[in-house]
Amino acid sequence: MRLLRHFQWDKFVPVLAAATLFIGSFQHEKFLTTGNMTFLIQSIGEILLIAFSMTFLIVAGEIDLSVSSIAALSSCALGYTWQHTGNIPVSVFVALLVGTICGAINGLLVTRLGLQSLAVTIGTLALYRGLCYVLLGDDRLKPFPTSFTSLNYKGLLGTWVPYVVVLLVVFGVAFGITLHSTRLGRWVFSIGQSKDAARFVGIPVRRVVLGLFVSNGFMAGLAGVVYTIRFASARPDGAVGMELEVIAAALFAGVSIFGGVGTLWAVTGAVFFFGAIRSLLRLNDFTANELTIVTGSMLLLSVMIPAIGGRINTYRASRAPTVAESAGVQIRPHTDPQPANP
């Protein structure tokens, strides 16, 4: 019981990920091989990159559903620029720029016009995806140079570690430190708790939120580049549905959809956990459809378990005599109104 009271979901999630790796290594002999680990990290690379910046947005009480379309548009921009200039560094720069601009458009619509981010990004989800088709149309791109795409299967310094690990570590550390031990990070939490209160204490709410959308656009653009390298192609229908995977991981990690609560390490753990579970199930001949069912069920359980736990605690607290009652003071029952639940 004592142990249960100290139970914290966000600390538990990375443990869960580690435990899955541990159990997996016993369960299937191929699981903890270098080949499978390379594949596992590559398969979660783009999702984790976006999850870093998405955590900031959700903690600040906003959301961005358009990330998969931004990643696809960035990938298409990369392909388009490569087709026309034949210069990879320029193409990558353009891709990142496109992502950043897309994020800025989302941010400006939300902060300048005061629109709901959910509605805005459902709109830009369709808009950016449409632009992918407009940009590439039915053209066939000339293939990317092997010096570019070979990044994917050449390990770091000749080891099995894929190059994307560098990006994950650099951005993971940068975003983690920013969220949890800088002033900006505290601001993000304050904004998520209450925008009005944050404004009253002098936090430049609009500018911070705009910045979060811009950084999220940049990260989605980066994910688009990584995606292009992984599949060695730029396609208008790439990365479809990735937004739901990113958001599912963040919510599983205990980031509150209402803002103000969340940790980056839990989100990282959740992405690894989902990746490990999927990899393990795939090794055990589960199909992609069954993986989808497992992902959805875990998402549901991740919100149900804390809620049911909370109910039990409330019930127990209501049964236990309060200090006032033990002292013989009569208290009128008090009922709280239902909380808002968007």
């Binding site: 005061g114 709109g123 599912a248 919510l251 992609a288 959805g296 808002a340 639940n341 968007p342």
Partner: protein
């Protein structure tokens, strides 16, 4: 605490004043969508005479009917400041269940198809509603979870054996394309359900409750509205409509595969929002949502009729959604400013 929180005053219970308020809202919001719809219809048919031919009209209305059907249910949920993302996969699962129920059988199984499809929808809706209402879980998370689960179940049970028109009874296939008074039968069904839903939301006590809950959930609970019951009912309606739309889907396309209904959820929410349903609850009508669905579908069809490459469609839909919510926002700001000066 120096001040005592004022007891929430119940919203005015006189239906007359509520109706008057609704009427002006109707004038303000559905009208521009209707006008836009007319402009697109007329403009396209001028440049392409075949656009509004009898076949063109039928195709257009059949496509709009399915989106519209789901949009009716989604409106109930959006009005309460909730969201239902699982409608797309519910549609797909219900379509497959209904198709399986009547395949290889004789004619006259229309009712059976609807019963099965709607039952599947109600099950998903009940599951969503119970979790969201009883455990106070965030609607976005729960319905995202059921979206995955239902889509996975659908893909798993369908597998490679998709249902094609050969399996389905002949009268069911013809039901999907038959017309009555020049309008497809499917569209009549949607219109009928739209009228019932519209009357319910506008006149029934419990229907008005949805607006109250969406405008201010804590206040609605304080004035004694059974918020949980209403939430569960709204999700049942949403699931049931998605299930019924699944049946329309099989009837129209004459088949189901493992991906049926994928991506419908965002198209439906876009249709509702374009039609003036506030994504954060409290305002909007079924008529608006149906007009929104019609408008989005019409634009899609008119792009191909104007031989604009089809891939512009998604970009246009997204841009239209952004324009719609921006316009709403500007109207709201103007109205608030006007009210503030009036009170001064």
């Amino acid at each position: 605490m120096t001040t005592v929180a004022p007891v929430a005053t119940p919203p005015p219970a006189r239906p007359a004043s509520v109706l008057a308020g609704r009427a002006t809202l109707l004038r303000r919001r559905e009208l521009p969508v209707g006008i836009a719809l007319l402009v697109v219809l007329v403009g396209t048919s001028i440049s392409n005479h075949r656009f509004l031919s009898s076949q063109g009209r039928t195709d257009l209305m059949l496509a709009a009917a399915i989106t519209g059907m789901v949009a009716i249910g989604e409106t109930f949920v959006l009005l309460m400041r909730k969201v239902d993302l699982s409608v797309g996969s519910t549609l797909g699962l219900a379509a497959y269940a209904a198709g399986t129920a009547i395949k290889d059988g004789g004619d006259g199984q229309l009712l059976k198809a609807f019963v099965v499809g709607i039952a599947v929808g109600l099950c998903v809706g009940l599951f969503n509603g119970l979790l969201i209402a009883l455990l106070d879980l965030p609607a976005l998370v729960v319905t995202l979870g059921t979206l995955y689960v239902v889509a996975g179940i659908q893909a798993k049970i369908v597998g490679g054996e998709r249902i094609t028109a050969d399996h389905l009874p002949a009268d069911f296939i013809s039901f999907g394309v038959d017309r009555f008074l020049g309008v497809p039968k499917l569209m009549w069904i949607v219109i009928a359900i739209g009228i019932v839903a519209s009357l319910y939301l506008r006149h029934a006590h419990s229907g008005r409750d949805l607006y109250a809950v969406g405008s201010n959930p804590p206040a609605a609970a304080l004035v004694g509205i059974p918020v949980r019951t209403r939430t569960i009912v709204a999700y049942l309606v949403s699931g049931g409509c998605a299930g019924a739309a699944g049946v329309l889907f099989v009837a129209r396309l004459g088949g189901v595969d493992a991906n049926a209904g994928g991506g419908y959820e965002l198209a439906v929410i876009a249709a509702c929002v374009v039609g003036g349903v506030n994504i954060f609850g409290g305002s909007g009508t079924v008529v608006g949502a149906l007009l929104g669905a019609m408008l989005l579908r019409t634009i899609g069809f008119s792009l191909s009729a104007l031989s604009i490459p089809e891939f512009w469609q998604q970009a246009v839909n997204g841009a239209l959604l952004l324009v719609a919510i921006s316009a709403d926002r500007v109207v709201t700001i103007r109205r608030d400013r006007a009210e503030r000066t009036r009170h001064r």
